[in-house]
């Protein structure tokens, strides 16, 4: 079944123009993306073993996706044996309903969360708030955008579109409303200190902690979380109930497989050898133990993933959400994450969103957000065939949805005219006649249909008085002309 993802109601042209008209957003996004892309390159350059490791990690993920169902069963059995409750959930509604009734049973009111793209995908915060729960994000970036009531613009750095000054302003505003002192300056240290102080109270007061999972190990029944802030540790251990919300694609077969891939989120994402915190959770607090939650619930979510298994797009499910493809993507650097209109952005977002939610969902994504420069596939540690997927998704869209009939006709005609030498000559003759009406100062400045898009911002030279083809033909028929120096360029 197709999944369900949040969607910005604004149409593509509005989202795009909004982003392009915001120089500060573009500068912020561009700066973060370049910094992370550079860090990744340096990390690999200084770590030769990283390359072999990457391949081993990719293979581990691919093996898991190829045998997903038995691994999920094994994971459920292991986690249950460890004392966790495991639930297979179809989509957003099932996940929210489960947590809401869990909260009702526990008399729980306050929820803290660590960063999770899946819960963004499920629009979980909004659903829990609608049911009367108070939800607090505790990842610094997520905390910022929650205060701003925004969605993440980058998969690793959710507030990448905001700079320090903007963040200081929203913190001050929050402090004023709570009647507490604000951050002492807009330097990183004071900003983090302010958030830390505010969040500490939230951790201690929380009834339920919700985290995602970076990996799930079937062999041992282990939930693995990697963060650089340590907030997931607190979310998973301080509140009496811990709920893990994880995509079914997060499962790995063995502990060895985990070892192969565990460095990748940090290495490809931020250019560190390992994230600062790696949290391993195998079950709730053991009887007699002093730490850990009383209850552990693990929700394994489909939301449009199963239909991809075994198909040409299955490699998309090996994505580890490292963001490397975002950072190198030229289009992403121009428009940032919000323009994509849903949870995931960058190359993987433009490919995966319609795969999860259906080809009619944000159909502009495969078409309008990729120049096919291939930077993403070079950067992706999992070798996901992103450019191929862009092209085949476009083909599927052409085949299945049909395009505007004028576009179709343009391609048909264009294709026919350029598919044989004789037709090509006819094309040249027509184009020469037609171009006279589209010139200014010796340059082409207009064209019909979608071809006109070119001329909104660029010129084109007219067709040469004698093309290379024509020159060649003339030369072949006249021996006197066989000096190549006269070739037109």
């Amino acid at each position: 079944m197709a999944g369900s993802l949040p969607r910005d109601p604004a149409p593509w042209a509005v989202r795009r123009d909004r982003a392009l008209a915001n120089p500060r957003l573009r500068a912020n996004i561009g700066r973060v993306a370049r910094r992370l892309a550079g860090a990744r390159q340096q990390a690999y350059a200084s770590y030769p073993a990283g390359r072999a490791l990457r391949v081993a990690g990719r293979d581990a993920k691919r093996r898991a996706v190829a045998h997903l169902e038995p691994l999920l069963d094994q994971l459920r059995d292991q986690l249950s044996a460890n004392g966790a409750r495991v639930i297979f959930a179809e989509g957003p509604k099932e996940v929210a309903d489960y947590i809401v009734s869990l909260a009702a049973r526990r008399g729980a009111q306050r929820v803290v969360k660590s960063k999770s793209m899946l819960t963004e995908e499920l629009d979980l915060n909004r659903r829990l708030a609608a049911a009367g729960l108070t939800v607090r994000e505790t990842d610094l970036g997520e905390y910022i955008i929650q205060l701003l009531d925004e969605r993440p613009s980058h998969i690793l750095a959710p507030a990448a579109h905001r700079n320090r000054q903007e963040i200081a302003a929203i913190f001050q505003d929050t402090a004023d409303r709570a009647g507490v002192p604000g951050p002492t300056s807009d330097e990183v240290g004071p900003l983090a200190a302010f958030a830390r102080a505010r969040l500490r109270e939230e951790f201690l007061a929380a009834d339920i902690g919700i985290t995602g999972a970076n990996f799930l190990v079937a062999e041992t029944g282990t939930v693995v979380l990697v963060t650089n802030e340590g907030n997931a540790d607190m979310v998973a251990s301080l509140p009496p109930v811990h709920v893990v919300v994880a995509g079914i694609d997060k499962v790995l077969d063995t502990w060895e497989d985990l070892a192969a891939v565990i460095q990748q989120p940090a290495l490809s994402g931020v250019g560190q050898r390992l994230s600062a915190y790696t949290t391993l959770i195998s079950g709730p607090r053991a009887p007699g133990a002093e730490e850990g939650p009383e209850e552990l619930h693990v929700l394994l979510v489909d939301n449009g993933r199963r239909p991809l298994l075994g198909g040409p797009y299955a490699d998309v499910l090996t994505c580890i959400r490292c963001g490397a493809c975002y950072n190198v993507c030229p289009v992403y650097r121009q428009v940032g994450g919000h323009a994509y209109g849903s949870t995931y952005a960058g190359p993987i977002g433009a490919v995966e969103t319609p795969l999860l939610a259906g080809l009619n969902f944000l159909p502009e994504l495969p078409k309008s957000l990729c120049t096919l420069c291939n930077a993403c596939v070079d950067a992706c540690p999992m070798d996901i065939a992103l450019p191929d997927h862009f092209i085949t998704l476009r083909r599927q869209q052409v085949d299945e949805r049909g395009e505007p009939s004028t576009t179709r006709l343009t391609y048909r005609t264009w294709g026919r005219l350029w598919s044989s030498p004789r037709q090509y000559q006819r094309f040249l003759a027509w184009a020469r006649r037609g171009q006279r009406f589209m010139m200014r100062q010796g340059r082409l400045v207009r064209a019909p249909g979608f071809l006109g898009g070119w001329f909104e911002t660029r010129d084109m030279p007219p067709i040469a008085a004698e093309t290379f083809h024509e020159w060649w033909a003339r030369r072949a028929s006249s021996p006197a002309l066989s000096r190549s120096d006269e070739a037109p360029s």
Binding site: R16, D17, L20, R34, V328, P330, V331, R333, Q334, V335, K367, S368, C370, T371, L372, C373, N374, A375, V377, D378, D388, I391, T392, L393, R394, R395, Q396, V398, D399, Y411, R412, W414, G415, R416, W418, S419, S420, P421, G442, R443, F450, G452, G453, W454, E456, T457, R458, D459, P461, P462, A465, F468, W472, A473, S484, D485, E486, A487, P488, S489
Partner: protein
């Protein structure tokens, strides 16, 4: 042609060729792309080539087109094999054509060097733009810089050189705003090198960047590598000459 002949090549031209079809393939219009691909394969395969088979090379003047034939045609052939009108001879013909196909700077890098230019070249700075498919699909990005240096010129590599110029085939027409934002960023980085002229091995990128400069009323010479090498061979690399040859609307010879 002149450049190739100076390096001892006997040149033939497959007059039946039109386009490799990449623009349609990338946009998802594969029947049209396959029509153009068949025409190109036919033209290149039936080309009467001089010299023994082993010495035959087909040279393409745009990295992206060569990448299309070398790396994407196999996928197009796979698809076409399930379409009506399929002919099992296509894979054989394809293998023959693709096996001898090189991009121009790759060929230049391997060709015998031309006779040295009559007078010493001036140490002009040339900003080099390497197209994305040239860089990542063909993995042949370094050759052009070496070729330019052997002409006695300085190669300037812009900041963020691996970022796309925004051409992307019909993407330039369907998403002109993003495409242009990318062109402007690329041009800013290229011009910040202080180079006399822009050179690339991809006509697509050049048309897009040159077209943008032209619309902005900026006269910065834009040349294909072949044009630059031709001037170099003649020992005629003065800035004035670069400006003349690198005009957006080429003068007829």
């Amino acid at each position: 042609m002149a450049v190739m002949e100076r390096r001892g090549a006997r040149v033939a031209f497959a007059a039946g060729q039109t386009c490799c079809g990449q623009f349609a393939y990338n946009a998802g219009h594969w029947p049209e792309a396959w029509g153009m691909a068949k025409n190109l394969l036919e033209a290149l395969d039936t080309l009467p080539q001089p010299g023994p088979e082993a010495a035959r090379t087909t040279v393409g003047l745009s990295g992206s087109c060569v990448a299309m034939v070398r790396e994407e045609y196999p996928k197009l052939l796979d698809w076409a094999a399930d379409q009506p009108g399929w002919d099992t001879s296509w894979p054989v013909r394809y293998a023959r054509v693709a096996g001898r196909l090189l991009e121009f700077s790759q060929w230049l890098g391997r060709a015998v060097p031309a006779p040295p230019p009559p007078e010493a070249a001036s140490p002009t700075r040339i900003a080099l733009h390497t197209g994305c498919h040239m860089r990542r699909v063909l993995e042949a990005g370094g050759e052009a810089a070496r070729v330019i240096e052997t002409l006695g010129l300085t190669v300037a590599i812009p900041e963020d050189e691996d970022q796309c110029c925004g051409f992307g085939g019909t993407y330039a027409m369907t998403e002109p705003k993003i495409s242009t934002a990318l062109a402007d960023a690329k041009l800013a980085a290229l011009q910040a090198t202080g180079a006399e002229a822009l050179v690339s091995c991809d006509w697509g990128c050049l048309l897009h960047l040159g077209g943008r400069l032209s619309r902005r009323g900026a006269a910065w010479p834009v040349l294909h590598l072949a044009e630059l090498v031709d001037l170099g061979d003649r020992g005629d690399l003065s800035p004035a000459r670069l400006a003349q040859v690198g005009q957006f609307v080429r003068e007829d010879p």
